[in-house]
Point group: D2
Chain length 427, copies 4
C-alpha cells in the first residue's frame, strides 16, 4: 500500500502565527473532517513568539470535487494554493440574487487576485458576494438584496485569499477555550454513538456506570433506564437519596401516583408520599430487604437489586430521611465510588464508560474521581452542568444539552436497532 | 338528581385573610383537584383589608377514604373540621423511623389538640414527625433519623391545625404571581392533551396556527412537523427567514448535508449552503415557484405549498438574503398575521389553537396579536421564553420547557394513537 | 377616626367565578397596591363550583384622580361601576396616532356601552385603541399605526367592560402558580428593603443567617461580605468546603493570585493552590487555629473567626480535602444547622432573617429546615435556583435573579446610606 | 539587545500528536501566560495524521522560581525536561495531610521516575498525592484524607511525566471548540480593559458603537449609559423600538413611574404608559422633535439628541406602535447600520469598537455586519446570547455573562478612575 492515501493533491501554503493562533491545527482538522488527508511538505516554525511560521501542506483527496471542497474550506482560514491564479468572475443576471456558485464572504480581511495582483476587498462583511470592478481594479462586498444586473461577482474560491486576524497582543493569553456545547446540534447521531458504545462494552463484558439525578424519575424516564438495566447495559449506579426515593415512591404508591401522573395535575400529596416511602424502607431495613419483602416491586432500584447492578447512594445535606442504604458521610461515599470506578476491591473490573444524566453535584463529584481515559457523556437540560463537566477539558467528555426523557427514549430505541442488526447479522 | 354530588360530607372552617391571601381559592381548588366537591355553608367576608373573614365549607367526597385524603390536604392550609377532636398518637416501634401513618409536618405554625386544648408545636420544620409529651402537654418536630423507640408521634391529620402565615404588611402587595413553569413535571400528559386538542380541532374543521423557530430544523424535528402538516393538523405557519431557509437548505443540499448529519460532525460549510439556498430561491422567484420547478422537493415549506398551509414569513434585521417570500416590513408582517389570526379577509376562519415552538421573537409577537381565548402552547428549551409568554397570564397559556425534537416526536405518536383509537371506535 | 379611610368612593360590581378564578383577590390586591382601600358591601358566594358568585365593592381613594386610576386598573379585570355610563369618544386628529387619553385594549373579551347598550368589541387584540362606529353601533380594535383621521376612539375607562375568560373546565385544576421571578425588574428597591431588614435586625440584636456558595469568592465579592460581617450584620454562616477553601486560598496565596486576578487571565495553577490551601489548614488543625497562627490573615472565614460569627461548613461528595472544620456527615450537618436556626442549644437566639447567595444545594437544604416565618431572600444568577426556592411558596421568600458582585456591592452601599441617615437623625 | 529575553532556561521535550491535539499551542500559551518566553530549538512535524511529531522548546524565564513554576505547569501537559531526574519524595508527617510542596495529580496517565526508571502511577485520580513505595518500585494516587504518617509522597514536579490522552480516532474530528464563557470568572479586570478601550478610542477621536436592548432601561441602568454618552464615550447607538420606548416612557411619566420604581412594586399600568409614550412621540412627529418641544427631557434618547450621537432604531414584528423614528423595514435597517459601521457615507469614520448589551437579536444582526477586526464586547445575563456571539469565533469577541446594571455601574466608575489618572498625569 502506498503512503499517499488519495490521488488528487494540491499544495497549499499557510503563513503567520499558525501554531499559537491555532490556524494550523484548525486547517489540518478541516482536511480530516471533510474526508481528505494531508502531508506536511515543508514547515518552518518561528523560534519565538514574535517570529512568524509557515508551512506547505499537500492536501489529498479521493476525487477532484472533494479536493475542491476542502480547498474552499481551508481557504477561509488562510490556506491558499501555492500556485495562485486569478479569481473567476460571473455577471449578475438577476437583480437581488448572486450568480450561481458565487463566493460567499467571511468577516476577515480578504484579498482577490486580479491580473496577477492581490486586491484588498472593501466593505468587508460576512455572507456577501465580492463585486469586482475590473477596470478600476477594485473589489467590495455587496449584500444579496443589493445585487444589480450586470455587476461582476467572484465565483468559486480560486484567487481568493483570507488573511485571518492576528493573535492578541504580547502578554495576553489566547484565551484557550474549552467547551463546545450547543442546543442546536443534531443530537440523534450522538445518541447513536452512545448506543454503539454501550453495545460494544456489553459485548466485551465491560462495565458502564450511570450517574443519575432524580430528574430521571420526575420526567417519567425511569422505565427507559429500567429497560437498559434489564438488558445488561448498566453495571453500576451512582445516585443520591432523591433518585432512589422518588423511584421507590413511584413503585410503592404506584396506583395513586399513577392516577395523578395520568391526570397530569400537580401532585399535592407527592411530598408526603416521598417521606412515607422513605419511612417504609427504613422500617424494612434496606432497599434489598424491601424488594425481598415485596414492598418494592418495580422501578430502577428494583431492577438494580434483581439484576445485580451495584449501587452507591451518596448522602447530601438536602436529603429527607434518608433511605437506609444512603452513605451519609461524604468521605465514605467517595471511597465507595472509588472502589467501583477502579474495580478490584469489589471483585469486579473498573468502569469503562460513564453516562451522567441530570445531576450536577454527582456528575462533578464523579468527574473528580474518574481517570481521563474513561469516556464520559453528560446529559442535562441545563447548559451550565454540561459546561462545567466539559471544563474537565478532555476529548473524552461529550456534553448534550437536552431533556432526559427523549434522550433515554431514543437511546433505548437505538440499542434496540443495534440488537436487531446484530441478531440479523449473526442469524 | 340531588344537589349533593357525594355522600360523604364533613364541614370545615377556615379563618383569617382567606380571600386576599388566597387560602380560600387554594382550598377550593384542592378539593376539586382531589376529586371532591364542596358547598359553601356560611361565609363572612371582612369588609376591609384588616378585617378577617371566615367560611364554613362542606367538603363532599364519594368515599370515606377520599374524604379523609381531602381533609388531610386542606388541613395543611388551615382548613380544620368544625367538630375538632384530639390528635391521635402512636408509639415509635423502630429507631430512626416513624410509626406507620405518621403526620408529616409543614414549615407553618402548627397546633395539636391534646385533652381538648390546642398546643403549639415547637421546633417547627417541614417533613418531620410531631413528637408529643402527653404528660407535660408539649409537642415538637422531630426528624426521621432522630426518632427513638417509645416516643409518641401524631398519626393521621385529626387534631392538627396549621396556622398559615400572615399576608404581607399594610401597603405591600401580595406579589401576584403569574407563571408555573417547571422542567421537572411529567410532560407526557401535557403532550397528550395537546394531541387531543389538535385532533378535536381537525375534526371540527378548525384552524391550528404553528409559530416556529429554526430550532425545529436544527434539531432534526422537521419530519415530525411535515407529518403533522400532511395529516391536516396545521393550517397556518408563522415563521421567519431562518426556519424557511434552513428547511429549504436541507431539501436542496439534502445528500451532502444528509451525510454530515449522518456523521454528526459540525457542518463547516453549512452557512454557505444556507446562503446558496436563499440565492437559488431568489433566482426562482418564490418558494412556491421553486416547488413547482422541482427545486424544493421535501421539507416543511414543501409540505406547506403542497397541502395549502398558509404561511407568513416575517423579516428581521438578522436575516441573510432574505427569501423572496419574506415580508421585510414589520408593520406589513403584523397585518398579514392579523389577517390569518382573525380570519375573514383571507377567506378562512380565525385561528382556534396556537402552538409556539422554539422562538422567542415570533412567540411574543404573535402573543401580542392573539385574543386571550385562543389556547396557546409554548414549547422552548429555554425557560425565559416560556416565562415571558406565560406572563400574558391567562389560563389558556401552557408553557413547556423541553427540547423540540422529543416534543414533536411524542406529539406525532400521540396523534397516531388517537387516530388509531378513533378508527377502532368508528370501525 | 372614621372607619372610611378615604373620601372618594365608587361602588363596583364583579361577577362570575370570582373566588376560584382569583378575580376577587386580584382586584382587592390592585386596589391596595395602588394606594386605595375597599369595603365589601355585598357578597354572594356560589355554593358549589358551578354556581357563580358576585360582589359589590366600595372602592375608596384619597383623591378623585387616584380613584379614577384604580377604577381603570380593576376594570381590566372585570370590575365595573355599578352605575354604568356610556363610553366617551374622541376623534383621531393625527394619522397613525390615537387621540390623547385613548383607552388601551387588553386581549380579553371586551364590551363598550353605546346608547345604553353593551356592544362587543371585534378584532380583539391587546394594546390597540377601540374604534367606534356610532351609527352602526359597532366597535373594533385598531392598531396605532392604522389610525385614520376622523375615526372615533374610546377615551378613558368609562363605559368599558372587560369580561375575563373563564376558568378551566370541570375536573381541571386552576394550575396554581408559585413563583414570580424576573430578570427585568428594577432590583434597586428590593436591595434597599433587604438593607433595611438587616439594619433593623441588627438594631434589635437579632440574628441574620447567610447561606453562601463559592461564587461569592469567585466573583470577587468576598470583600463586601467581609464588610457586612465587620459591621455586625451577619451572625451565622452556612456554607460548604468550596466557599471556605476558595476564600482561604485567596488569603494565603494572596499575592500570586492577586497578580492573576489583576491580569484577569485564567489562573492555571488555581486548582493546585486550592488543594495546597486545604492541606495547609489541615496541617494547622482548624480554620480558627490557622487564623491564630497568622496563616489566614484576611477574608470571609478570617472575619468570621475575628467577629464571633458562628459557622457550619457542610460536606459534600464533590469536596476536595476537605478543610478540617467541614462536617462530612450529612445528618450531623443538618443537626448543626438546626441548632443555629432554632437557637437555644447554642446559647443564642434563633435566626430572624436568611440571605441565600449563589448556592442551590445549601439554599434548598436550609429551606427544608427553616420555619415559614423566617424571611428568606435568595440571590442567584441562575433562575432555576430562585424558582426552586420560591416553590416553597410562602410570601416570605423573595427571589432575585442577579449577579453576586453587584448585589453585595449595592447592599453594602445601601446599609452605608442607612447608617448615615441614622447617625444624622440621632446626631 | 540580545535575542534571549530571559536568563533562566530549561529545554523541554514534547512528543505525540502535539499539533493536531493542540498540545504544542497549549504549552506555548502557558509559557507566555505565566510570563516566560520560549525558543523552539528543534521541531519534527509528522507528515501525515498518523505520524507523531516532537519538539524541543527552550523555556525562558526571568527568575529561577518563575522557571520552576512554568515547568510545573507545562509538565501537566506532557512537556518534560530533556534532562530527566528522579522524582523527589517526602514523608507524611501528619495524618490526613500531605507533606508541604506535594505534587498534585491530574486525571491523565502519569509516570514517576524512580531509580532511573519511569513507573506508571496506579489508581489515577485528580487532586491526589502520589504515594511511592520505593522498595516495591510502585506508585499510586492517594486522597488527602487517606494519608497515613510515614507514607512517602512525591514533592515538586521533578521526575513526573504526564502522558496526555490520545486524540479521537481516525475519521473523527477533534471537536473544535469555540467559546469560553463563564459566570465565575473575576469580571472586574475585563471591565477595566473595556474602560481602557473606550478611553483610548475617545482620545484618538474614534467611534464607539453601542448595541443595546431594553434591559438597560428595565434594570435602571439608563443613567450610566447617559453618563457615558455625555462624556463622549459613545458615538453611535443601534437599538430597537423597545429600548427607546421604555427610555422615553421613563422620561415622560417620570414622576408616577418614579413612584412605582421607588416602591418596587410591579407597575400594573406600565404597559399602558409605554403605549401612551409612543403615541405622544408619534403625535410630535419624531424623537428629536419631542426633545425640542420639551416633551422628552432626560434619558438615553434625550442625551443622544443633545450630544449628536447617531442612532438607528430597527423595527421588529413584536413592536408596539412603533416610534416614528423606527425603521420598520429590515433591509432598510441593515443598510442604515452598514452606513454607520463603515463610515464615509454618513460623513463620519467607521466604527472602532462595539459594545453589545442585553440584546440577542440586535447583537447577532450587528455581528453579521461587522468586520472581524472591530473588537466586540457582548454583555448578557443569558449565557446563550454570549455563546452565540462568541461562535463568530474570533479572538476579538469577548463575552461577559453578567447583569447589566452592575456592568455599566462599574464601567462608569472605571472610566472615572482612568480620567482621574489621566488628569493627574497631565496636571
Amino acid at each position: 500500500m502506498s503512503k499517499q492515501a488519495h490521488p488528487f493533491v494540491e499544495p497549499v501554503e499557510l503563513k503567520g502565527h499558525i501554531i499559537d493562533s491555532l490556524l494550523l491545527p484548525k486547517v489540518l482538522d478541516l482536511i480530516t473532517e471533510f474526508g481528505g488527508s494531508y502531508r506536511i511538505d515543508k514547515i518552518h516554525v518561528g523560534q519565538t513568539r514574535s517570529d512568524p511560521s509557515s508551512v506547505v501542506i499537500a492536501v489529498e483527496a479521493a476525487s477532484e470535487e472533494l479536493l475542491g471542497k476542502i480547498l474552499a474550506q481551508i481557504a477561509d482560514h488562510g490556506a491558499v494554493p501555492v500556485h495562485a491564479r486569478d479569481c473567476e468572475l460571473a455577471e449578475a443576471d438577476i437583480a437581488g440574487a448572486f450568480p450561481e456558485n458565487f463566493y460567499s464572504s467571511t468577516n476577515q480581511h480578504t484579498q482577490v487576485r486580479l491580473g496577477g495582483h492581490w486586491i484588498t476587498v472593501a466593505d468587508q462583511e460576512m455572507d456577501c458576494g465580492i463585486c469586482v470592478d475590473s477596470e478600476r481594479g477594485t473589489a467590495r462586498c455587496v449584500a444579496m438584496s443589493d445585487v444589480r444586473i450586470g455587476q461582476k461577482f467572484v465565483v468559486g474560491h480560486r484567487g481568493v485569499k483570507v488573511v485571518p486576524i492576528d493573535r492578541p497582543g504580547e502578554g495576553e493569553s489566547f484565551g484557550f477555550m474549552s467547551s463546545a456545547v450547543s442546543t442546536e446540534k443534531p443530537k440523534g447521531v450522538t445518541v447513536r454513538q452512545i448506543a454503539a458504545d454501550l453495545h460494544r462494552i456489553r459485548a466485551k463484558g465491560g462495565r458502564v456506570l450511570l450517574v443519575g439525578g432524580p430528574g430521571i424519575v420526575h420526567t417519567g424516564s425511569g422505565p427507559y433506564l429500567c429497560e437498559l438495566i434489564r438488558r445488561g447495559y448498566i453495571q453500576v449506579l451512582f445516585a443520591g437519596n432523591a433518585l432512589a426515593t422518588h423511584d421507590i415512591e413511584q413503585s410503592i404508591y404506584g396506583t395513586s401516583l399513577g392516577v395523578h401522573l395520568g391526570r397530569g395535575t400537580s401532585v399535592e400529596a407527592g411530598h408526603e408520599h416521598h417521606l412515607r416511602a422513605i419511612n417504609t424502607v427504613r422500617r424494612a431495613g434496606s432497599i434489598a430487604r424491601a424488594v425481598d419483602l415485596g414492598i418494592i416491586r418495580s422501578g430502577i432500584m428494583y431492577e438494580c437489586v434483581q439484576h445485580g447492578v451495584r449501587y452507591v447512594l451518596c448522602g447530601s445535606i438536602r436529603d429527607d430521611g434518608p433511605l437506609p442504604d444512603v452513605v451519609t458521610d461524604a468521605l465514605a461515599s467517595q471511597e465507595r465510588m472509588r472502589d467501583e470506578i477502579r474495580g478490584g476491591r469489589n471483585g469486579q473490573g473498573g468502569v469503562d464508560f460513564c453516562l451522567m444524566i441530570a445531576t450536577t453535584l454527582h456528575s462533578i463529584a464523579v468527574g473528580n474521581l474518574l481517570p481521563a481515559w474513561v469516556k464520559v457523556v453528560c446529559v442535562d437540560i441545563n447548559p451550565s452542568t454540561v459546561i462545567k463537566l466539559n471544563d474537565r477539558g478532555s476529548f473524552q467528555t461529550v456534553g448534550l444539552v437536552t431533556d432526559v426523557e427523549p434522550f433515554l427514549r431514543v437511546l433505548v430505541s437505538e440499542v434496540d436497532a443495534l440488537e436487531a442488526d446484530y441478531a440479523h447479522e449473526s442469524g
